[in-house]
Symmetry: C2
Subunit: 356 residues, 2 copies
Amino acid sequence: MGKNDNIAKWGQNFVKPLYFRKGTLFLLDQTILPHKVKYIRYTTARQTAKAIKTMIVRGAPAIGCTAAYGVVLAARQYQHRKNYKELIYREIDALAATRPTAVNLFWALRRQRLIVEQGRTASGVAKALTLEANRILAEDIDMGRRMGEYGAKLIKTGASVLTHCNAGGLATGLVGTALAPVYAAVARGKKVKVYADETRPRLQGARLTAWELMQNGVPVTLITDNMAAYIMQLGKIDIVFVGADRIAANGDTANKIGTYSVALAARHHGIPFYVVAPTSTVDLQIRTGRQLPIEERSADEVTLVGKTRIAPRGVNVFNPAFDVTPARLVTGIITDRGVCRRPYRRSLAKVKKEEF
Amino acid sequence: MGKNDNIAKWGQNFVKPLYFRKGTLFLLDQTILPHKVKYIRYTTARQTAKAIKTMIVRGAPAIGCTAAYGVVLAARQYQHRKNYKELIYREIDALAATRPTAVNLFWALRRQRLIVEQGRTASGVAKALTLEANRILAEDIDMGRRMGEYGAKLIKTGASVLTHCNAGGLATGLVGTALAPVYAAVARGKKVKVYADETRPRLQGARLTAWELMQNGVPVTLITDNMAAYIMQLGKIDIVFVGADRIAANGDTANKIGTYSVALAARHHGIPFYVVAPTSTVDLQIRTGRQLPIEERSADEVTLVGKTRIAPRGVNVFNPAFDVTPARLVTGIITDRGVCRRPYRRSLAKVKKEEF
């Protein structure tokens, strides 16, 4: 599938996780979904960095798009300052320091940094950064649709899909990664239902995936994470799709904590387990999963649900935000440039080469 | 180990999940732990049945003990009624209808029913039922200590134990099943630390196991269920102990939802996975796991945490309270009469034979 192919434009009515209008970035506040649908306005890079850190916006591709617009805001803030480039670089560093695992963040910031480096005037830089951010967002949506088309071919009508966390539209520019094959299959008239892991501790599955699928008219059943293996044993799952925050050169995949557990269960039951991610998520600099940086987050995420304390005060907590699924458990990696199969070192290098 | 051996009396200072005093049953309200430590008083069988159903008391052995005292309350309620036996039988039926999976419930009620059948006078029946309930409770504590001694031999000093749900003192008469080996090892001076799965949806691990271990001076780290496989991958777990709600003749084990997922992960990482349960939990009438009845509970357990709603209103939910771990994933079943090994059909039949 070449870059200029016509692809089906499904998803235009989906809820937008972010948009940029008249110098202002609007982020859908994902910390209060599904109870309230509210966009927050951002006019500075520093606020935008904070929004990424506090997970107002989350999901590797959506973080990348948001960071790109964060740099736009920086350029607009500093366009009357002599040392505007230096000031923008500082904001780029602050944006890069928000979350360590999602590689799209660094990838989007690299693209923007290059624009700044090549710029001649402050206003020219601001304009070019805006165009580049718009391009990153448009490409993300386009890539989502392409992943959807590749993935949809793997879904039979009547199929039951399991997914973990939210790698849906809300995690991206618009149409999702792991959920894109589901949406594309539904757009082609296939009947598909989804089981959504609630995804502790931050409950992205319960709060976001379930809500998003209900909004978009796809039947969804919510389960707790520890039920996934059991429903596989009951024969209720045909295929698993998950997203990725970073994929090493050998196919080892960092994704939301709990993904590894799902992959083990899928393997045991002979259920295909697919990672769905744009090629920007593949980091050839990282040779294997051992080198993938895993963010640890605060104990409160585990011990508090909303304002409800669910564990004794002062209890020790281990809270890694991601885990690493070894490539051998991954049936295929669905990218915007086709489905990569083992050996991943070769197939991933190939799609990365096409990226430029 | 014979029935009359002296066994170490550790655990005497542990918090009591239930006790009977002067015609009143006191149950520690496990739905409000760890925030409040409060005993509720029960004087009727019907109230007691409701307490089991709403999980004021939970854990298969504790349910058995509670039900036995429930029958005592029935006998005291009806001891001036002519048709007292019939009335007691009706209460036994109501107690039996509370929860379908834990076999200890039916086992304890059968013992009490036999007492009623053999009774001559209403007051005699009430007295005999009280003695029998006391005996069931004392036996439970004694069995816990025995399981602890057998299990402790499998724990090396410095070991890291993973457990799921709460099969600790709170789930039994006093000293636990899955946690009994930990307590016995600690009583012998071994250093042991525990990783506790929080155990969605009812969070018994976060609310009860973490609290109980902290109370009893055992180092504990709380994790979400979906982290268990990952911490095994990190090499942090040496051995797994879980309880059981019912064990089939072939060793297939019904236990809290999520147990199967832990068993799969343990198998993948070559970590020993032990089920710890008194022989009363073994049900030779059930040939394999396929026949084990699995209770489904309400969607609210998944969509509400305390009063915090964590999922969209009206979302479909699948909420099985238990799952079935096939015998082939179970390294051993630690009973009060020794550790059963494969083939379980033979080893379990042997310990059941000794039961009478």
